[in-house]
Amino acid sequence: MINLVWLIPLFPLIGFLINGLGRSFLPKGAVGFIGSLTVFLSFAVSLGIFFELNGSVTKSFTIQLFDWIQVGNLSIPFSFQVDPLSSLMLLIVTGIGFLIHVYSIGYMHHDTGFAKFFSYLNLFVFFMLLLVLGSNYVVMFIGWEGVGLCSYLLIGFWFSNPAYASAAKKAFVMNRIGDLGFLIAIFLIFNTFNSVEFAKVFPQAASLTAGSDVITLITILLFVGATGKSAQIPLFTWLPDAMAGPTPVSALIHAATMVTAGIYMIARSNILFTLAPFTLDIIAVVGLATAILAALIAITQTDIKKVLAYSTVSQLGYMFLGLGVGAYTGAFFHVITHAFFKALLFLGAGSVIHAVSNEQDMRSMGGLKSKLPVTFYTMLMGTIAISGLPPFSGFFSKDEILAHAYEHSKLLWLIGVIGAMFTAFYMFRMLFLTFFGKFRGTTEQQAHLHESPASMTFPLIVLAVLSIIGGFIGVPEALHGNHWLAGFLEPVFSASEQRTGASHLDHSTEYILMTVSVIAAVVASFIAYLRYARNNHVPVPDTAERTAFANVSYNKFYIDEIYDALITKPLNILSGFFYRIVDKTFIDGFVNGLGRATAEAGKGLRLLQTGNIGFYIFIMIAGIVALLVYGFYNI
């Protein structure tokens, strides 16, 4: 089965080609079926590979397809690696990918670009699978940039709206800033280890001493790449704008899979990062800062998708915090559980938006609980899971990250818990504003309220179940679990763990930490309940006065405006200066000056220019023939 791993990306590629080429004549039913089926087939193969790997003694397989780039000693094969890390990620991408494809059949049903949408979605899955499966940094980079392209295409899916098209461009460009860091890291890796293959780089790295300059530089550059793809400070502002894309896209690409690629890449390269404690500290601080900043923005947003977008940025920040404190398993655990509950929440939001005639502002929602019961209860599960209440999935993964953070520094832990409070608050705020109280939209919208079709509720239910039970793959020893996930991923992280040593926390400390974070989450949810459910508080309209803090938060700390003033505008001014002053006036002026001087001197030659092309061609050919003939006869 493992030898058939190439089938996994091949199926979605075929789906992309069929739906892409047949988009003008294939019926919608066929398009949706083909698009979903191909991803399901990939899921089936991934499942087979997972079980085979689970039962196998060898935990890492490399399958080479062909030689891709070959120059001198640089040899980059097009090859795949199957190991516990990639195998789990395959299941997430294809499993959740499949559910979201099915959901899209209902959600995109009325859209004229139905086939185009499915072909892009399939293409995305193809590239994401390349990213996951690549056995070297360059194949990973193919997927890395490929998903960026699909993200661009899907954010700008409704491109007639100039704001959406701009959001798409912004996402691509910000990702590319990170990509340059990634690319230079690849060069540095090749120069240091003479290979870009994971299987050759990591064993060599394991024998190096920690803290060397070259490892620090490599890891910082890789992290720069990760900040772009995974929306961390300073490159996070594209992700909220990316909500311009259709909601299934937000669920699949901008919550469950693509944006976690940065965490996946660092977890993959864990030994390099373990050897660079300085970089790990930066990652922890940036991750936590992003988590807090995004949470502070999320608490005042009124667009349901924006709340979820900032929540995603914030949760990704927690994952980076986990990586930074060496909790590689915990970070990846959170990737998995977050994929469940955030995909669920986005799809739920999509179901709501679908029901209220494309309204996204929560100020015009409310009271949807009875009209959309499936959506409500599944989203409730997702909200509990993300808030970190036991025994839902988010509790276990977030707790593992926070426990490691505590071990690393009590301050990191404390700020992390405060952030978790915010999380519980804004998530329940969203839930109450949407589903509780009275409906605040127009009467037209009210007449149209309906629960979504089965193709949309089925994925919600599956994801809700996973959000509830997903945490049981990683129950810690303190709670009498055996943490299956840690055992399964052990071969991937063992070299790092040998260096850092096992966890030192005793069980009583762990109990205290868990209790504190659970209490914090419960208190925050209760405050949200009091304010938005019992007192029916509704956020003020845009025109109303806000407190200074609410204003800054609502306006996203003016970060877009700051970037615009510091980077975009100056570059445009520089562009104009280069063009008009340097190029036209200075350089070209000099050239023209030289030219005029020459022209004056050459006036006499003008007499030869008759303006007749035939004459010129004749002279030219005659000249050549004469030269040839002259040459041959003078031998």
Binding site: Q70, G72, G146, F159, F172, F190, V591, A599, L627
Partner: protein, 492 residues
């Protein structure tokens, strides 16, 4: 003798096609004739052995009184450029089918005539012959641009002609000087390679050759003729200039500049590299705010060629192999871009992107092919551009991490101006003039599909192309490095 056939086949075609005079069948005749050249290139490629050095050599006495022989041949480096020339000319001709140029006989005759000159440049192993080819290629393109160009063509083209011609003359001085130093006063390339001139002599020779090549590419700050000329030329002319002709400059740097004056290179190489890298960022930034789409692509071409030049001047295997394959890729991509722009400009009658928008909705096939070409240009993985830029930036990295980082900005800046252009043209609400925008059809479809297929194919499977030139580039690098280190020059 194959080489003679290769070079003179287009010339014969030029004479035949020019007989068509004012009949539009001239384009069909020219297209068929250019396919002959392409087919013959396939035949040469089939018999070509990448490991065997220079092949298909012809060498017979020619202007002996001058010391020049008709000496030409093909090694891996030449092979790729011959392939580029003979593959792109049929595409360029086919891409011009929608235009009805006046005096098509003369127009297409000049294109084929130019093809001969280009092939001579890429195969000549004698400096005088090389120079003859260099000028033969220049004269037809001057007429193509000056006669069939835009309203401002005369002024722009005189500048282009004088500028590049001045560069050529300086190179001619260098060539004559070199020939005077050889024992038998000949123009033989290998004779030039064998010479061991003093550092100061080589320094001057380097500068003389460099001027010609730097203007042709063009490298910052010798580039100001280029945006005007690209903008004012008829599309076929712009394609010839940007797709093939500028590779005369990069090819010249590889064959006629660095190995001819290795010590001059040791002295000036870093300066040349610096100019090339400055050009990348400088031209990219200017492209940011261009509204004229043709001018925007013209500036982007300066940036892309700057990267190729930088890969040459770092003179290592990754850089040079990257430059080789990127010459091909750039030729293909810039041709595709100018064709796409030609379609737009022909349909809308404007080059101002502010007067466009919403075309993607009207013409889905067009928008996909445009996107693929654009992705090749911004070097997305699995397109041809990525292979080239990856190797080039790696070559730069091996030289200096900062050179790579600054040149690597092209990855970001390129995405900014290209996507901005794509957005303005294709996305947003439709303008009045784009509401009736017809999707691609006929020859447009054929040309764009071929270009896209090649972009993806080279991106996925570049190995055969890389293999063609690897032995030649490696030997040339070793030879030059040996000379710089003061080793024996006889090993080439």
């Amino acid at each position: 003798m194959e080489i003679l056939l290769l070079i003179f086949l287009p010339l014969a075609g030029a004479i035949i096609v020019s007989l068509f005079g004012k009949h539009q069948q001239a384009k069909t005749a020219a297209f068929i004739w250019s396919l002959l050249s392409l087919g013959f290139t396939g035949y040469l490629l089939d018999g070509f052995d990448p490991a065997a050095g220079t092949q298909f050599t012809v060498d017979f006495p020619w202007l002996l009184s001058l010391g020049s022989r008709f000496n030409a041949g093909i090694d891996g480096i030449s092979m790729l450029l011959v392939l580029l020339t003979n593959a792109l000319v049929p595409l360029i001709i086919l891409a011009s089918f929608s235009h009805n140029y006046k005096s098509p006989g003369a127009f297409y005759g000049l294109i084929l005539f130019m093809q001969s000159g280009l092939l001579l440049v890429f195969t000549a192993l004698d400096a005088f012959l090389f120079y003859v080819g260099w000028e033969i290629a220049l004269i037809p393109i001057y007429f193509i641009c000056a006669i069939w160009g835009g309203s401002n063509r005369i002024k722009v083209n005189i500048k282009f002609f004088i500028y590049t011609f001045a560069g050529s003359l300086i190179m001619l001085l260098g060539i004559i000087y070199m020939a005077q130093q050889t024992p038998d006063k000949t123009f033989d390339l290998l004779g030039f390679y064998q010479l061991s001139l003093s550092t100061s002599e080589q320094s001057w020779v380097f500068l003389a050759f460099f001027m010609a090549f730097a203007i042709k590419m063009p490298i910052f700050p010798f580039h100001t003729w280029q945006p005007d000329t690209y903008t004012e030329s008829p599309t076929a002319g712009t394609m010839l200039l940007s797709g093939i002709m500028l590779k005369m400059g990069t090819y010249g740097a590889i064959r006629w500049l660095i190995p001819v004056a290795p010590l001059g290179f040791a002295q000036w190489g870093q300066t040349a590299l610096t100019l090339a890298v400055i050009g990348i960022v400088y031209a990219s930034l200017i492209a940011f705010t261009q509204k004229d789409i043709k001018r925007l692509v013209a500036y982007s071409s300066i940036a892309h060629v700057g990267l190729i030049a930088a890969g040459i001047f770092v003179w290592n295997l990754q850089g040079l192999q990257g430059a080789m394959i990127q010459m091909l890729n750039h030729g293909l991509n810039v041709f595709g871009l100018f064709f796409v722009l030609d379609i737009i400009i022909r349909r809308l009658g404007t080059r101002d992107m502010d007067k466009m928008g919403g075309i993607a909705k009207m013409a889905p096939k067009f928008s996909i092919t445009f996107l693929i070409i654009l992705l090749g240009t911004v070097a997305l993985p699995l397109t041809n551009g990525f292979i080239g830029e990856f190797l080039l930036l790696m070559g730069l990295y091996n030289y200096n991490i900062w050179a790579s980082a600054i040149a690597g900005l092209t990855i970001i800046l390129g995405a900014v101006y290209m996507l901005r252009m794509y957005q303005r043209i294709m996305f947003g609400p439709s303008a009045d003039n784009t509401l009736t925008f017809a999707d691609i059809a006929g020859t447009e479809k054929v040309v764009l599909f071929v270009v896209c297929a090649l972009i993806l194919f080279i991106g996925v499977y570049p190995k055969p192309l890389l293999a063609i030139s690897e032995t030649s580039t490696r030997e040339l690098i070793d030879f030059v490095n040996g000379k710089i280190a003061g080793g024996s020059p006889t090993n080439y």
